[in-house]
Symmetry: C2
Subunit: 173 residues, 2 copies
């Protein structure tokens, strides 16, 4: 296939893929390494997406929420999950803090605001992440007291930007 076969085409993607040969990037977020293991835009997934992520010491996700389920599996390292269960309040409010550790798992309920932070000062945090309803549509918060109505939608999300295409405008002849 020629140059037209971009990395964004799901045609010709092998069924069995070597994860260590998949694209890996920080997608502009310092301290992050992200691999889309099985993705909507890259691999034609419709109901599940799987990511492999590494957070350098001190790095973290933004404070955010999304209307999908999310499961984390901590492969290595440790850190802190900040989670503000959804409520009828106008802001996320002060989050609960949960220590996360190697060989632990947790899930984020739909629409709960959360942040995963590598609070370990020396060790990378390696997580496997699964989300439903891909590609993910995220609402970002600057802090826990930002009103829900002020959260900023990020869609496509960082690693989906390159291969995201809005529906083509129809020719109007």
């Amino acid at each position: 296939m020629g140059a037209e076969a971009s990395i964004c085409s799901t045609n010709g993607v092998p069924l069995v893929r070597n994860i260590s040969e998949l694209p890996q990037s920080d997608y502009g977020r310092g301290g992050l390494s992200h691999i889309t293991v099985a993705g909507s835009l890259l691999h034609g997934m419709k109901e599940i997406e799987v990511w492999l992520q590494t957070f350098a010491p001190g790095s973290r996700t933004p404070i955010h929420r999304h209307s999908c389920e999310e499961v984390f599996i901590v492969l290595k390292g440790s850190g802190t999950l900040f989670l503000a269960p959804s409520s009828h309040a106008k802001i996320p409010g002060e989050p609960h803090e949960y220590p996360i550790f190697q060989n632990s798992t947790f899930h984020i309920p739909v629409n709960d605001c959360h942040q995963v932070w590598n609070t370990n000062e020396t060790e990378d945090l390696h997580v496997l992440v699964v989300v439903s309803r891909p590609p993910v549509k995220v609402f970002l918060y600057q802090d826990w007291s930002m009103p829900h109505t002020a959260a900023k939608m990020k869609y496509p999300y960082y690693w989906d930007e390159e291969c995201f295409h809005s529906p083509e405008p129809k020719d109007e002849l």
Copy 2:
């Protein structure tokens, strides 16, 4: 809580769980070790379920299909994926064979008949499995030439049997 707090109650399940402390069993299938890492019946998941499975040398899944997406991540070991893409034929037919190996990933398209087999004679096969639309409803085949109409539904599936409850029959008074 008293004896009423069975392992089938999602009440009181900690948000962050140590995977090595979760129940593990072969659920009557020789050579299998299964852990439900994040489950519909055990943990209240609605859109995603995550399993950790080990197949001893020679052991395998049944030939089966399900109307959900499924992603495998091979953590350790190797084996063979047998996959018969769905067609309009009345039987699955001869499957394609794909070698699977440590650090590989693959997904099973919705309703494609498949079988994962630890064809490695000495090493265990460790996989992380993600499915959508839990709890999974499986159709089992004795061989690849069994008509789809003869496939046997297994629902609840092996590891869901203990905690699966049909809707209570209504009192008729």
